[in-house]
Symmetry: C2
Subunit: 109 residues, 2 copies
């Protein structure tokens, strides 16, 4: 754990969401709980390793909850934590901005 001094406050935000796939993952989770395999299907280009890693970091940073069901076959559900919910508006706006830029009607709830 480094003790970073941020020259610009937004760096504290980036520390949490700046991973290659993190914002995409969060945008999927804001739609509701999702299983590991659901996330994979929604992001065909991501590897299991990366997905696992990014989720672990998001969990460590307190924005994502991981719920394990003791079943066979295994079942794990990911969702926004309470802290993660405070990102929802930002995620919605980022999503809407991308939609608008692509010429679509914003459809990000």
């Amino acid at each position: 754990m480094k003790a970073p001094h941020y020259n610009v406050p937004v760096e504290a935000t980036l520390e949490v969401i700046a991973g290659k796939w993190k914002v995409v993952i969060l945008c999927l989770l804001k739609e509701g709980e999702k299983r590991f395999s659901e996330l994979q299907r929604a992001m065909p280009a991501i590897t299991k390793k990366m997905l696992s890693q990014q989720l672990k970091e998001l969990e460590k940073d307190g924005v994502v909850n991981r719920k394990v069901y003791n079943e066979v076959p295994p079942k794990v559900e990911y969702s926004l934590s309470e802290e993660g919910e405070t990102l929802r508006e930002i995620l919605n706006m980022m999503c809407a901005w991308g939609d608008r830029r692509m010429g679509n009607t914003p459809n990000c709830s």
Copy 2:
């Protein structure tokens, strides 16, 4: 130019702002026009090469304006473009989120 198909719309947004320093740069520019050296001073860890590169990409993506004054010594000012202004609210929120997470009073206008 690849013709990317985005599985999640927010990827179009990330295409523009996902560089290592881009959000930090944009957050500085939302305070007003800034010269190259001002940006450097605000981000002691960035190299000239990176700063130049990230600014060039932001300009290419249409969110930053570059204004050159024909003076000696040279003077260049960067600012949010009209399109960049549409990011302002997102930037403000990201900034405020970081402030809050650090336990500061949000101070991102």
